[in-house]
């Protein structure tokens, strides 16, 4: 055995750590005197490493988004599929189902849509219409089967035993359906398009299944058996409204809604809202609209948004969030409307709609200490006149074009095959050419592309050599698959190689899809970008085109990269982002800007932050300088709106607690559960524990103001302090920011009084921002939209249209009219 030669495969096995322990020990002993073999092993390792390196850099293809979703949805619904599949062979997942990207979960969800659509006999907006006439063959058949499904007590009774056994599994599945709803809304139209001919039959089958599922669940869920005979929509609605709830009372309560539809619900009515706006109608109308007019076959991915709720000042006196200057949502909404579709709710981010527009806030004067100035306006809330609307506006220092510091840009461009569409790479090129045209000779530009492999197309070049840059841009063409991971590393490297101290150093990423990050996962990519951001190279992400846009990822990348994210759908938008607002897009004047608002419980009973859902921070993060937050560019304006419920409003009414109101409004079941459990006003905002901890040092309001919660046995209601009682202040705004190259934050704070301004007295900017927010809520069919309608929005917006240098506001009003046409043409 001592005869080892270079043909011995153990050499390689040893080099690669593949020898079993015993063999390795033996082999090592044989190696001791063989210098040559150890050299051999080193050589093998070196080849192996190189090979590994090379092979890992090969492009990594990806499944289509649809396939991926199908797998994920299949994974989620694995249990529910098996369950309903029992004795129900029709819905077993046949192979073609998967192939088509139809998953169990999507199917279950689809039913939720199919049923109400049929009930109302409404027609669909897309290519494939369900029979318009409810008495027609399709509608009729579906209805019959549904009725059948619901009025077969013997079948149901037979399943009761089974049902109780599987209760948990079902509850799980239902929960999953609820969670899925946001993604599902994208999936649904997709399936419809894929299988136009199968649609009625499919939905029928699934409708039966879902109905049974829902019914089974309700039995298992400890409601009374007669519930099984309720019409399908009630069962369905209930399974939606209170899924997974352990309390029978919850369910009973929820069950009452349909029967009381149109009549005031004594227990849970809101004094401030239309009583018939209960969760069922909300639920139903949302689903119908969804099915009606969403863009079919889109694989664009948006992160789900759970809207901020009203929070009681007693339990949550602090509201903390990071500013956000992204505008992508606005362009995406516009694009969907232009294409004739209702925007996907999760593509509608209120803060990005509002911040799309510039407002005429005072900028800081040259001598000012802070690089931005905040101003606040309080007036009547137009969609809820008993409420006050607070607008916090921040305006960044303006930097004249000529004073812009030297700029070092690296364009990181996706040139994969899908970018060849006219609204993608050609638009990228056009937009960037305009940007380059506006740079000065001291600026520099490099171009990195990524596709099959990433590469440097143009090393960093001074803009004095503009023709070279424009030529390189012009010659770009699309082809290949995507591997953004390697590309982004290269782009950052080039940016760092040509780093301009005290200048603008920025990578500008343009893509239509997502990064296929190869061997690294998203977490690694985000860490990389955060790391680079610390070195002073910031990142701007520009989304283009449709079909596979990973909006969520682009936003997160920009967020981590201390940059902004925009969506470019037209050359005009490119002009706006890359030329008109170039200074703002390129020059950061303050970073990690956080806002914390403390409300005075003597004045404010509850409040709701409009938008910024994915920017919420914990209260303690405000003073934590290691917590990343948003950036402000030169001349940028950032606007945040709070809807305020003043103290005293409810005391005059029938004292319906906020929680009860939430309960009526809650459309996804979350609020319901919380309310029924008498939970404190919990939400995505600062956790109650933190809020409570904070409130030890802060004035807090009397607990007695919250009738839904029993008075505490061991604690007296907190006392308002002197300032709360006598100052008349409504709230205090606190801002923290860092200089672009700084590590420690500066605090700015000021109190705000409500001067009682009426809607008519409010400024045009205020009216306009309010109208944009209302538009977002109506598009999302938010339960907080109050009196807002497309018509009222247009009216409010027109009142603020006067300040409109670029015509953006006029275009907004036109867009609202377009949305009305698509979504609700008959409303007034």
């Amino acid at each position: 055995m001592n005869d080892i030669n270079t043909n011995d495969p153990r050499l390689t096995a040893y080099a690669l750590g593949e020898l079993e322990d015993a063999d390795r020990v033996e082999f090592e002993s044989l190696l001791t005197e063989r210098e040559d073999l150890r050299a051999e092993i080193d050589a093998i390792r070196s080849v192996a490493n190189e090979l590994h390196e090379e092979l890992m850099h090969e492009p990594t293809p990806a499944l289509s988004g649809q396939q991926r979703e199908a797998i994920k949805a299949g994974a989620r619904s694995g249990s529910s599929l098996r369950l309903v599949g029992d004795g129900e062979p029709t819905i077993r997942p046949a192979a073609w189902w998967w192939r088509a990207g139809i998953s169990g979960a999507a199917a279950v969800l689809l039913l939720g849509v199919a049923v109400p659509v049929m009930m109302r006999g409404r027609t669909r907006g897309g290519e494939i219409a369900i029979d318009k006439n409810p008495a027609g063959p399709t509608g009729g058949a579906m209805r019959e089967s549904l009725v059948e499904a619901n009025e077969r007590p013997e079948g149901l009774v037979a399943k009761i035993e089974e049902a109780s056994r599987m209760k948990d599994e079902l509850a799980d599945a239902t929960k999953q359906v609820r969670q899925l709803s946001s993604e599902g809304q994208n999936l649904i139209p997709n399936e419809i398009v894929e299988y136009p001919n199968d649609w009625p039959e499919l939905s029928l089958r699934r409708a039966q299944t879902e109905t049974e599922t829902a019914t089974l669940y309700s039995i298992g869920g400890a409601t009374s058996p007669p519930a099984a005979n309720k019409p399908a929509r009630e069962t369905l609605a209930r399974s939606r409204v209170a899924p997974g709830s352990k309390s029978a009372q919850d369910q009973t309560q929820a069950m009452q809604f349909p029967s009381q539809s149109g009549a005031p619900d004594g227990e849970a009515k809101s004094p401030a809202r239309q009583p018939q706006e209960n969760s069922l109608t909300l639920f139903r109308s949302t689903l119908i609209d969804d099915a009606d007019s969403f863009e079919p076959a889109s694989r664009d991915r948006y992160n789900p948004i759970v809207e901020n709720e009203f929070l009681g000042v007693a339990t949550a006196p602090l509201s903390t969030f990071s500013i956000d200057v992204d505008t992508a949502s606005y362009s995406m909404v516009r694009r969907q409307l232009r294409d004739g579709y209702r925007p996907a709710p999760d593509s509608v981010r209120l803060e990005e709609l509002i911040n799309y527009f510039d407002y005429k806030y005072d900028a800081p004067s040259p001598g000012d200490h802070d690089p931005f100035r905040a101003n606040v306006e309080v007036a009547t809330c137009p969609w809820q006149p008993e409420h006050r609307l607070v607008r916090i506006g921040i305006k960044g220092m303006e930097i004249p074009h000529n004073d812009r510091p030297a700029t070092n840009l690296v364009f990181l461009l996706d040139v994969s095959g899908s970018m060849s569409d006219q609204n993608k790479l050609p638009l990228v090129k056009q937009g960037l050419m305009r940007l380059v045209d506006n740079l000065t000779v001291d600026d520099r530009v490099a171009i990195v592309v990524y596709a099959g492999a990433s590469g440097l197309v143009l090393d960093s070049t001074f803009v004095s050599d503009k023709d070279t840059i424009l030529g390189a841009l012009d010659r770009l063409s699309a082809g290949g698959s995507t591997n953004g991971g390697a590309g982004i590393e290269l782009a950052y490297k080039v940016a760092q190689d040509h780093f301009i101290k005290d200048g603008v150093n920025r990578v500008i990423l343009a893509t239509d899809g997502d990064f296929n990050v190869g061997v690294t996962n998203n977490g690694d990519l985000f860490r990389l970008i955060e790391e680079k951001a610390k070195s002073g190279v910031f990142l701007t992400t520009l989304g283009f085109g449709t079909g596979n846009l990973n909006d969520a990822m682009l936003e997160q990348l920009a967020d981590k990269g201390n940059g902004m994210c925009a969506y470019i759908d037209t050359i005009e938008e490119a002009q706006k982002v890359l030329v008109d607002q170039m200074s703002g897009s390129l020059v950061t004047i303050a970073k990690d800007v956080k806002i914390q608002v403390e409300f005075n419980p003597a004045v404010v009973k509850s409040y709701r932050l409009l938008g910024y859902e994915n920017r919420a921070l914990a209260a303690r993060d405000f003073n934590d300088d290691t917590k990343d937050a948003g950036e402000i560019g030169a001349g940028h304006t950032v606007t945040a709106l709070y809807e305020i419920e003043p103290v005293g409003l409810l005391a005059m009414a029938d004292a319906a607690p906020i929680e009860a109101r939430e309960q009526v409004r809650g459309r996804d079941g979350r609020a319901m559960d919380q309310a029924a459990e008498g939970a404190d006003a919990e939400s995505a905002q600062p956790a109650p524990s933190e809020a409570a901890a904070e409130s030890k040092d802060k004035p807090a309001s009397p607990q007695a103001e919250q009738p839904a919660v029993d008075p505490l046995r061991y604690q007296a209601p907190a006392q308002l302090n002197e300032i709360a009682r006598t100052s008349g202040e409504m709230l205090t705004v606190k801002l923290r920011y860092k200089q672009p190259d700084g590590d420690t934050s500066t605090l700015v704070q000021f109190p705000v009084h409500d001067e009682g301004e009426s809607w008519d007295q409010s400024t045009g900017d205020f009216k306009f921002a309010a109208s944009v927010a209302a538009f977002g809520m109506v598009l999302r069919d938010s339960s907080y939209k109050g009196d807002a309608t497309f018509n009222s929005i247009m009216e409010w917006a027109r009142a603020g249209e006067s300040i409109d240098p670029h015509g953006y506001r006029k275009a907004f009003v036109e867009m609202v009219a377009k949305a009305k046409q698509i979504i609700d043409p008959t409303s007034d």
Binding site: A13, E18, P93, W98, V449, V457, R475, V519
Partner: protein, 192 residues
């Protein structure tokens, strides 16, 4: 806020497996299927669908080789069925417009793209010249990061056979890289 997709313990592992293996499996399968991306996607999707139907405990401790093996078998089935059957697995550059990978991308890179350092593509071209099974084990080893044992499971070989294939493949590459004439697979090298 964590916005990862909703997942229960039941399905979480599937999503994690998808996240982790989607790309590597596609890369491997694409190679087996001569660069036919759509076919490769079908195969990989089928593999995950099959995974969903598995009992988790039965596959979890050998998930990677299980997935690779399913993909491999399906890909080979497909090749057989479509009578594109060849005695060797294709690893040659494809020029029919399908998605290629770096080794064969040197003829279809966007013209503007910078050239990779020369040794890069040279090494991969040399890999493409290796016999079929050596190529496959090298890819499974250095691209799929599988152990000898796992590769043996994927390809239905013995562990020692895998060891021989990898060793031979690497030795051949070494000789070609250093410019030495690649004569046989068992060329002797200078020794003390």
């Amino acid at each position: 806020m964590d916005s990862s997709s909703p997942a229960t313990a039941e399905n979480q592992w599937i999503c994690e497996a998808l996240q982790r293996y989607e790309g590597p499996l596609l890369r491997y399968t694409l190679r087996l299927l001569n660069g036919d991306l759509e076919a490769a996607r079908d195969v990989v999707q089928d593999a995950f669908v099959k995974l969903i139907q598995q009992d988790r405990s039965a596959v979890e401790d050998h998930l990677a080789p299980w997935l690779y093996r399913v993909c491999r078998n399906r890909a080979l089935d497909r090749i057989r069925k479509e009578q594109r059957m060849q005695t060797s697995l294709p690893d040659a550059p494809n020029t029919n417009g399908r998605l290629g990978t770096a080794a064969d991308a040197h003829d279809e890179q966007p013209a503007e793209q910078a050239q990779q350092p020369e040794t890069r593509s040279r090494l991969l071209i040399m890999v493409a010249d290796l016999p079929e099974r050596q190529r496959e084990v090298l890819r499974l080893k250095f691209q799929g990061d599988l152990s000898y044992r796992e590769i043996a499971e994927v390809m239905d070989l013995t562990v020692s056979h895998v060891g021989v294939l990898i060793h031979t493949g690497i030795q051949t590459l070494r000789q070609r890289m250093t410019g030495a004439p690649a004569t046989t697979r068992t060329t002797s090298t200078p020794s003390a």
